[in-house]
Amino acid sequence: MSLLVDIEKKVGSFCLKTKFNTKEQWLGILGASGSGKSMTLKCIAGIETPDKGRIVLNDRILFDSEKGINLPARLRKAGYLFQNYALFPHMTARENILVSVEKGRQKEVLEREAARFQIETLLDQRPAELSGGQQQRVALARIFASEPEVLMLDEPFSALDEYMKEKIFREMMDTLQSFQGEVLMVSHSRNELYEFGEKLLIIQNGLTILEGEKKALFEQPVYVEAAILTGCKNISRIRKVSDCIVEAIDWGITLDVGEHYQENIHTHIGIRAHDIERVITREKNIRNKMSGMVKKIYERPFEIDMLIENGKSEHILWCKVPKGSIKNANLEEDKPITICLPPEKLIYLRER
């Protein structure tokens, strides 16, 4: 089981250049809105034709511009979940699901998929009579029913409610364990992708900027753009001050840096909102301590988000603390606060 993709395509002023290779590993594709995620999947599915390159699925050449091969979408066995579902409006959910299932197996397949996606009671409704989330479930069931070799999910959970999302996600992960094929999932939810698979591809402006182990990429996203995509909320340009000391220009502070910092390479520094710690003791030897003002507090069910203003600069640090910890007692807007940016949590970055 393997999928090799190495394609180029230009549409309008947008230029796509994707290259990756998976082998019995699920691949998550992370990228900003408009970065070319859907386009990549469409090329694999055979809906869009790349300008050049090759796509090979399990030793079957789906596309090869040099050999002039371009397998029709129908024969590719590439299940693609359209971002807007593309359900057939004139068919009931049942008919949609069974559209590509041969007569003899319809009952079995229908029962299996309807149960999997909890749509037993909706089978006689047409797409216009289904809610957004219900439509998505029917679309997923339809793809599963067609038994593809590679499953490509374009934001599969965006329209599901959180309960459903978690439920279907887990169930899908379980089902997919037995799924004998490649799975690609496009998402801009780093949480989803983090849970999803081991491998991650990060796309930016049509280019694959990073490919690798998800943990490594989350810990060390290398590029500023990748850091933003993996959810790093605080990023600043840096200037070297002395050995092991840099100035974070956008935050207006100087920082002790760790061993990973390389002067010639790194131009930016980042820290995740979760990693900024509040300092409440008067201890002196805490490194990278900073005082500021709480500018804004956003309360979430289990977390508190704060925007912290540095006295010296207008720039703002974003900080997340779990609710209920002693560390966030007496937090109030427009009150002073002391935080620290632990050197081991700093991420060193460069621009592409």
Binding site: G46, I47, R74, G79, F82, V99, A128
Partner: protein
């Protein structure tokens, strides 16, 4: 009043619409999936031709093509003993040729209005082009197809010029309602003419109501 024109017209129009319906849709589909825009325009032109020529002239051309002296007519007659001119088959032939452009063009318009994403989705689900056509494209283009069907049926029912030329005007055999109306008018029998006008209007009304009803049931989901 002689009702044979009604029966002949009904038989002709029904057989003709069946032929026209499927042929028109087939042609339209072929043209829509075609890549070359030039080719599309040329075929559009050819298929629309029977509409710009006076029906009598179309009839004349058909006569040249299918007359017993023509190669086609000769072969048909000598090999199969089929003589098309002045037969019932000729009324059908005339109606089909004259109404085909309507079905073709309407179906083409309808096909072109479908959201392509749905076709893509169908392909990735492994459906063959044939299945896609019958299960997705056709139902989704229903409103346009129905329009085409109504137009083609009406035109076939009302066909006169080409029919008169290739099928003649033989009472009880090839005299359709339009020919009967024409004959009555020519003979100055206005009462008889009005009667047939009423009959043909009624037939067309009923047919349209029927088509509308069936198609409405079929695409109720759509709203």
């Amino acid at each position: 009043m002689d009702i044979s024109p009604l029966l002949i017209s009904l038989k002709t129009a029904v057989i003709a619409i069946i032929i026209t319906f499927f042929t028109g849709i087939l042609l339209a589909h072929r043209v829509v999936v075609m890549k070359s825009e030039k080719m599309k325009t040329i075929l559009d032109g050819i298929f629309t031709l029977p509409m710009v020529l006076p029906p009598t002239v179309v009839g004349f051309l058909l006569l040249c093509l299918f007359g017993v002296k023509s190669p086609v007519g000769k072969i048909l007659f000598q090999s199969f003993g089929i003589k098309i001119v002045f037969s019932f088959a000729a009324t059908v032939l005339a109606a089909v040729v004259i109404s085909l452009p309507l079905m073709y063009r309407s179906a083409r318009g309808a096909f072109e209005q479908i959201d392509e994403n749905l076709i893509h989705a169908a392909r990735t689900l492994g459906m063959t082009e044939r299945t896609i056509f019958w299960k997705i494209v056709m139902p989704l283009s229903m409103p346009g197809i129905v329009s085409g069907g109504i137009l083609a049926f009406a035109r076939g029912l009302g066909e006169f010029g080409a029919t008169a030329m290739i099928a003649g005007n033989i009472a009880g055999k090839t005299r359709t309602l339009p020919l009967a109306i024409y004959t009555k008018v020519s003979a100055g029998d206005m009462e008889g003419a009005w009667f047939y006008v009423l009959v043909i209007s009624l037939v067309s009304f009923i047919a349209i109501a029927l088509i509308n009803y069936i198609s409405r049931k079929w695409r109720k989901f759509y709203k």
